[in-house]
């Protein structure tokens, strides 16, 4: 369609091409305008495409290679070991613990942040004074660099000077410091994962709310009004008009969050490093500890790759929804 569209036709680009053929075409008559446009286009595209191919595409393939090799930090030469690393991972107890923790983390956090996010989105949908300011305040957890906000939580979870415990204790909900009833958030295997999940929920519920809000505001008022005229109740309108219309945007928000929550190491790494007794060990932390700290690149890569089957459905759904944006 590129070369032949030069001679007019319904394509608007082709008309533009006819207009702009003048002077320059004469310099290199052997190149048609369409071909020059393609060359120009690919030249502009090349740097970005190459960067991404070399530093995302190639490393991804390289990680597949590492995962089937015995690559180590100390030794430059690696040997092919087949699926040995994957097998070894499956035989580690801590791998199964990490996988379980990752899934629990993802699901519990998703439920909590959708509840908080949805209710917040409905509130922000209302018209009231000072909405801009309040919205700006509420989204701060998401905009603050993650490694920095986790530090504040680490201090709030302090074993002795925890401000959360101070409040709970004054309210009479927990015991005094030094007694059984004083929760040690990051030191108690039963509480540590909860503590980590809460930080993730705190950080991402504003994201859920804003994505939902973007969805709500994209539904034209006329459509809602039409449904009202047709006698739909609030819940009918919501169920049959709003939800289907914002479904693609919801999916994308949900899947982005899945990818980032599953692959994030910073919250757990900074709060507990996976402890106590592996109670908060998740796959990214395990991959980091084995790959970098223990220097076993092959095994670390294999563990990280176990995230891929969890991520692929997310990627496919994002892809389908992005393609739909044209219409």
């Amino acid at each position: 369609m590129t070369g032949s569209s030069l001679h007019g036709g319904p394509d608007p680009m082709a008309r533009a091409a006819v207009v702009s053929v003048p002077a320059r075409a004469a310099e290199r008559p052997w190149l048609t305008h369409g071909a020059r446009r393609l060359m120009f286009g690919y030249t502009l595209l090349a740097p970005a495409a190459l960067y991404v191919l070399l530093l995302v595409g190639a490393p991804f393939l390289f990680s597949l290679y590492l995962a089937v090799s015995d690559a180590n930090v100390g030794e430059p030469i690696a040997h092919f070991v087949g699926l040995e690393n994957f097998k070894a991972a499956l035989e580690m107890d801590v791998f199964w613990i990490s996988l379980r923790n990752s899934v629990v983390f993802l699901v519990v956090a998703a439920v909590l942040k959708s509840l908080l996010g949805t209710s917040l989105a409905f509130l922000l949908l209302q018209d009231f004074k000072g909405k801009k300011l309040i919205r700006g305040l509420v989204v701060i957890p998401f905009t603050l660099p993650i490694a920095i906000s986790v530090l504040s939580w680490k201090w709030m979870y302090d074993s002795q000077f925890s401000v959360i415990n101070w409040v709970l204790s004054r309210m009479g909900l927990i015991g005094q410091f030094g007694t059984e009833g004083w929760p040690i958030w990051l030191g108690d295997p039963k509480l540590a994962l909860v503590a980590c999940i809460l930080v993730n929920v705190w950080r991402t519920f504003p994201f859920s709310a804003i994505v939902l809000l973007a969805g709500f505001t994209s539904v034209p008022v006329e459509v809602i009004d039409a449904a009202k005229v047709d006698g739909c109740s609030f819940f009918q309108r919501f169920r049959h008009v709003v939800v289907p219309m914002i479904f693609p945007i919801l999916m994308i928000g949900f899947l982005f969050d899945t990818v980032f929550t599953l692959s994030d190491l910073s919250v757990v790494y900074l709060l507990t490093q996976g402890g106590p007794a592996n109670a908060t060990k998740i796959l990214p932390v395990l991959a980091y500890q084995i790959g970098i700290q223990a220097g076993s690149l092959g095994r670390g890569a294999a563990i990280a790759l176990f995230l891929v089957p969890l991520l692929i459905p997310a990627l496919i759904l994002v892809l389908r929804n992005l393609k739909r944006r044209e219409y």
């Binding site: 533009a16 495409a49 960067y51 991804f60 928000g253 690149l297 892809l319 992005l322 044209e326």
Partner: protein, 289 residues
């Protein structure tokens, strides 16, 4: 007279009641969202004895506020270096991102390349390949380039997520610039490159600036790459240096830690705040415009 006043009064009263209800409902969210930042701020200005007394009311100063924690940061740690590193890394990342993503976004949006839409989506999807899968192979690549243990490693690595995101963002941006403007430039004798440089780029300046902001804020969100690739104390960016260098064993200097977190975190959060809607538009493909 009184009767004539009545309707607007009840109207106002209704509106006040509605507002009060909304504020009451939204206050818990605001408190939850903001409290950790407030806690950072108050801790940063407290004297040590004020921090470690359980019988004190913790939400306000019991002893006079102090700047000592900040002095420790700047005189006894690499904090100044980290701030400098963060800015230079971000500047380089922004530059690399612009030089690659602006032309690519333009080419994909405007030049009717075969398969442009799919190429755009493919580039964007690489934004979703998480660092946890890439960091081990990248550590080898960084070592091959001789960049391990220097912040230059991060200059090379951060564009792997800023280029995909900004290319996608700019692609959407260039699509909104009317075609007629470009055609007019061509009629006036500009070549393809001339039209891009002299006409399209200047009107797209807001989009380009937005990309610079994202190159900066997205870089600040990284922790894993910095942790894995840069170990010397004076080479780290702030989000990596503060948690890894200021915590030594079991000793926490909470005052300085919170000061360090606040001083850089808050400006970044505020800056990002202004561009959050663009970020959401970017990842949701512009549906919610």
């Amino acid at each position: 007279m009184a009767r004539a006043m009545a309707p607007p009064m009840t109207q106002r009263r209704k509106s006040i009641r509605r507002h009060l209800l909304i504020y009451a409902a939204i206050t818990p969210y605001v408190v939850i969202a903001v409290f950790p930042i407030y806690w950072m701020a108050i801790t940063a200005f407290k004297q040590d004895p004020d921090l470690y007394r359980m019988e004190h009311f913790p939400f306000w100063f019991n002893l006079a506020p102090t700047l000592r924690n900040f002095k420790i940061l700047f005189y006894q740690t690499h904090y100044g270096d980290w701030i400098w590193n963060t800015f230079t890394i971000s500047a380089w990342v922004a530059l690399i991102t612009l030089v690659t993503a602006v032309p690519a976004g333009y080419a994909l949006a405007r030049l009717k390349l075969p398969g442009a839409e799919n190429t755009g989506i493919a580039i964007f999807l690489t934004y979703l390949v998480p660092p946890i899968i890439l960091f081990l192979p990248l550590s080898r690549i960084v070592a091959e380039l001789g960049l391990q243990d220097s912040w230059w490693a991060l200059v090379v690595v951060y564009p792997t997520f800023t280029i995909p995101f900004c290319t996608w963002l700019l692609m959407g941006f260039f699509k909104t610039v009317p075609m007629e403007i470009e055609e007019a430039a061509r009629v006036d004798g500009c070549g393809q490159a001339g039209a891009f440089l002299r006409v399209i780029l200047p009107i797209s300046l807001p989009g380009v600036l937005t990309s610079v902001i994202f190159a900066f804020t997205l870089s600040m969100q990284d922790f894993l790459y910095g942790l894995a690739f840069v170990s010397p104390g004076d080479q780290k960016p702030v989000p990596v240096g503060v948690p890894t260098e200021l915590i030594r064993g079991d000793i926490y200097y909470w005052g300085s830690l919170m000061g360090a977190a606040l001083l850089v975190g808050l400006p970044v959060a505020i800056l990002y705040n202004f561009f959050l809607d663009r970020f959401i538009q970017g990842i949701t493909g512009g549906i919610g415009k």
